[in-house]
Symmetry: D2
Subunit: 346 residues, 4 copies
Amino acid sequence: MIGIGVIGYGYWGPNLVRNFMNGDVARVIAVSDLDPAKLTASKRLYPGLETTTNFRDLLKNPAVDAVAIATPVHTHYELALAALKAGKHVFVEKPLAETSEQVLHLIEEADRRKLTLMVDHTFLYTPAVQKIRQLVEEQALGDIYYYNGIRASLGLFQSDVNVIWDLAVHDISIIQHIFDQQPIAVSATGTCHVAGTPENMAHVALFFQNNCVAHISVNWLSPVKIRQTLVGGSRKMIVYDDLEPTEKIKVYDKGITVNGSAEKARQLRIGYRAGDMWAPHLAAKEALQTEAEHFIDCLCNGKTPISNGTSGLRVIEILEAASRSIAAQGKPVRLKSNARLKEAAV
Amino acid sequence: MIGIGVIGYGYWGPNLVRNFMNGDVARVIAVSDLDPAKLTASKRLYPGLETTTNFRDLLKNPAVDAVAIATPVHTHYELALAALKAGKHVFVEKPLAETSEQVLHLIEEADRRKLTLMVDHTFLYTPAVQKIRQLVEEQALGDIYYYNGIRASLGLFQSDVNVIWDLAVHDISIIQHIFDQQPIAVSATGTCHVAGTPENMAHVALFFQNNCVAHISVNWLSPVKIRQTLVGGSRKMIVYDDLEPTEKIKVYDKGITVNGSAEKARQLRIGYRAGDMWAPHLAAKEALQTEAEHFIDCLCNGKTPISNGTSGLRVIEILEAASRSIAAQGKPVRLKSNARLKEAAV
Amino acid sequence: MIGIGVIGYGYWGPNLVRNFMNGDVARVIAVSDLDPAKLTASKRLYPGLETTTNFRDLLKNPAVDAVAIATPVHTHYELALAALKAGKHVFVEKPLAETSEQVLHLIEEADRRKLTLMVDHTFLYTPAVQKIRQLVEEQALGDIYYYNGIRASLGLFQSDVNVIWDLAVHDISIIQHIFDQQPIAVSATGTCHVAGTPENMAHVALFFQNNCVAHISVNWLSPVKIRQTLVGGSRKMIVYDDLEPTEKIKVYDKGITVNGSAEKARQLRIGYRAGDMWAPHLAAKEALQTEAEHFIDCLCNGKTPISNGTSGLRVIEILEAASRSIAAQGKPVRLKSNARLKEAAV
Amino acid sequence: MIGIGVIGYGYWGPNLVRNFMNGDVARVIAVSDLDPAKLTASKRLYPGLETTTNFRDLLKNPAVDAVAIATPVHTHYELALAALKAGKHVFVEKPLAETSEQVLHLIEEADRRKLTLMVDHTFLYTPAVQKIRQLVEEQALGDIYYYNGIRASLGLFQSDVNVIWDLAVHDISIIQHIFDQQPIAVSATGTCHVAGTPENMAHVALFFQNNCVAHISVNWLSPVKIRQTLVGGSRKMIVYDDLEPTEKIKVYDKGITVNGSAEKARQLRIGYRAGDMWAPHLAAKEALQTEAEHFIDCLCNGKTPISNGTSGLRVIEILEAASRSIAAQGKPVRLKSNARLKEAAV
């Protein structure tokens, strides 16, 4: 039986406890939070839990094999590093840390100690994103032309990270997962409408080789909730609406046909092709449950997590580049080709 | 009775003829098109029309007081200039011309001859945009935070202009019309997925004073048609969906409240306010009919059109700046404050 | 060239003229209407048309091979009978006449003279209904369990027929067309909310053999327009929404599975099966164009129309039975098995 | 502190426990269920609960002031009667019992002992239904013309009650609550598509005085989930869609205007009036929480519950009449004017 300790029992922590409790192989044995009231709440639901206001108690506990961290972003690095140094496997809520440098340290520390480091990019474990990835891998879409995502709603304004670190991070991790290539540059714009708070609205463009492009629109100040993504390919195109209760993914057999040669552009004939639409049935399994099982499976069987430190690193690098571009009103920022990533891919 | 000549009887020309025919004050008397088959089609519907393959016949005709031009973009300047020089009032399909320099010449020519020059920004005459403008003017939204528009569908790829000159032009003219200030810079990205054709997908950010921002997403290669715009204000927010058959505009009494001072950002308390939604009844009148009547009214009564040469010029200047930014992958381009516009405003 | 005469140039007549004009084989040569202003309007669009306020002029005209009737319901019988007696093929707007007795006379007259009698059940010629019929015929749905249709909107109140003769007639003709059996009884309820006018809201249940059932809800006094139909089968189920711009038909691979025997009902295990959804691409062709071509094809090649007098008769018989049931607050009314229909089926 | 015992910890029971636990005034102290595994589950969440497989233990427990019953329908009467005889207040899941005779006994027993008897018609406590009732009471809709409700989804087939006792019961209780009059007759049709099971699809029409009518369509075998209700009035009309996440109620300022007198029906001029749509903000409070608080409030302060025995009785009488009408294929069944109800109203 794998023992799990959870650090942070605020908004996301209870979900972690519930899902890590669910399995036959692992069990949450201890929870820490600075707020004793939250610990009391946790004990009401799970009387057998050990609780503490000092996370170091978890790290000292030999029954704890792994810790899951669900605390404010600015504490991720310190907590994760301490856990690794204490010999614990680590599962961290997104984003993995505040800087890519911090992430690199965590990766190195985990590698050195042969510990598993996983970042909680929950969307990668949803049936919807898994289906999109499968369709892309099977070449069902043909050449990928673009990813165009919108995440908008009213709230929740955060005080320590801006809207791209809160919302665009989801899309960036999804794009990482379904595309088989890395972006080479990013251009982003963002605006803050409340003095003294981070940007609450932003648009991020990621440039890839071969005219493939991704665009992400995020907004904390929208009157309606929107979670809509288009993925366009040369053969088929997908509309992914995460707010649809069942038909989250619609695959359109639509596209264009081109006659003539690019040299004689004015004579190009563009044809429009419209075929059936198909909404594949998706399993109803909770993504966090799938993800928790995957973490445990990686611990037990020495596998590398899908959302490992290296993929978390790339997400942070893109967020950092986007932040620099926002500061320069959209000026493009090159992304270094990442040697570490290439190794990881080998 | 005002006599109208229509140059170009392709996609948009028949709509112009139908709407300019409708009035009691004006009447279409002649149509020109290079394609005789189209002229035959026009005569089948309107047997009394004079038709010609040479637009100069219209300009020579003393019964023609004004010409409406619905031809490919690259011919707008030459045709409009010839019409003005022939003493005709001019109504031109959007965009007004290919360059701001051309537009300046047209404005000067029209001014010198005391002729009316109007550009067909049809959306300004829709009941939906008129209602949004009214709400903004009445301060119902409070401070305007943002405009966020999406226009996407499959087709129609054009060979001489890219997607921002075809689609974003609508949003830019709307933004011009409903905001009481001019953008100061633009950042845009765009992609071409078919070698030899113009960009078929683009995102344009317009920066204003006071953290007000506009963002436009346009796409010729979308599996679904989308015409959705959010306008966010400090008091209320609007969702404008042009594909809704009746409730095109929804006004949300939603927003945030801020407690605390910007100096102590970490202590800021953001509150969320959710009230009623309201969809004002909109008249069903066809926008082009309203616009045609407005053009005739301007001719007869010496008024300046809402979508006059000067507002058409500003749209072109923004499109030119956006094109330069696209070429530089989002690098921001400053917009000169336009002396001419200021005069016009006085 | 088949010569067509159109009687009635009010709401539907112009559509008939436009679509019968469209072909290479047939042509509208004359139009009659009691209102000279409408005749003037028709000549403006089609200068070559002969026009008259006396429909008998059409019947005398030897160039007129067939007449299409688009007049108020209470005139259908007299006009159609006169046209048949004058040796003209006849195409009549729905419903075919006011009583089944009248329809029988028309059928007999047409049979005796070997003339084509067709009723304009436009929906049968829509790509959507054609696709549903194809899926039913291919047994894709399995056993048909039910048809459940809603037609609601604000208006148009009619003065001579109630809402079932105006709206439910569409569903009844569709049900006739896609089911391979006839209803055996009908129960209907209806209400009139404006004194002195016919029922503006009604519900009609049609009972078939084998527990198959159809239900139709119609409403002239709805705040929103609804055109939604469910067709349930043992293998698949269809949602048909006629207001959807493109995906009018969605086929759901959903249903139940039953384990256990009916004798031990309390031990029956019902399972629920959920699979993919599929929206077949539908052609964009206008139904009335398809229908007009079908009428001409029947004339030229001696074929029997899909919506012939006999199918029109059955629709009227069902409407009559439903009217009797409405008068008795839902009391079921048996439908005679129709000997004539059986012959037609042989 | 009011002590609550809950009988039945299956699908609905856990919701009852959670909501009755929530208050400061009441507390669930014991739970009974025939299945020990369910009791174990309840203890895991609420370690302090007493649990038993014998409901009589709850009735004997002097700390239990009231019982909430969430068991199969056929057990309601026996359990509720035993609880009342043991001096406990009673809260019963809908429908209150299997027959109106049983309900009458329960009402008499409760009255005799001055105990509160309440039936769990949860929808009456939703913010949406409360808002509709308020609008009706304020005469905002004008004269009420109709209620038209649809409840459809795939499952859950029940073995002891048919679809009207499971789903239409909600609409009947809502109609009771928002209309200020009682139906005078009912016509219903229903179909069973699985031999050996109760009807899984039905339509129920309720006739009121003054041409007011209600119609309910329920379906366990629909490919899509539908929860849509129209309420039509002479002044305004409501669309209530319970699946909408936030804008569940839309109020349309639409209707008809009538000119002319009913005597000269053919000359009646019907006008159509279209105004704004308005979606009032609704509180997000869980209905069962409101309902639980109301039950406790009635106990403590001697109030009569909104969904008391008498209103539960009328719902059962309508269900019984509808069942008889279904058996007779829609033949209308008169509803006796209920002397008891009149007393209750006085």
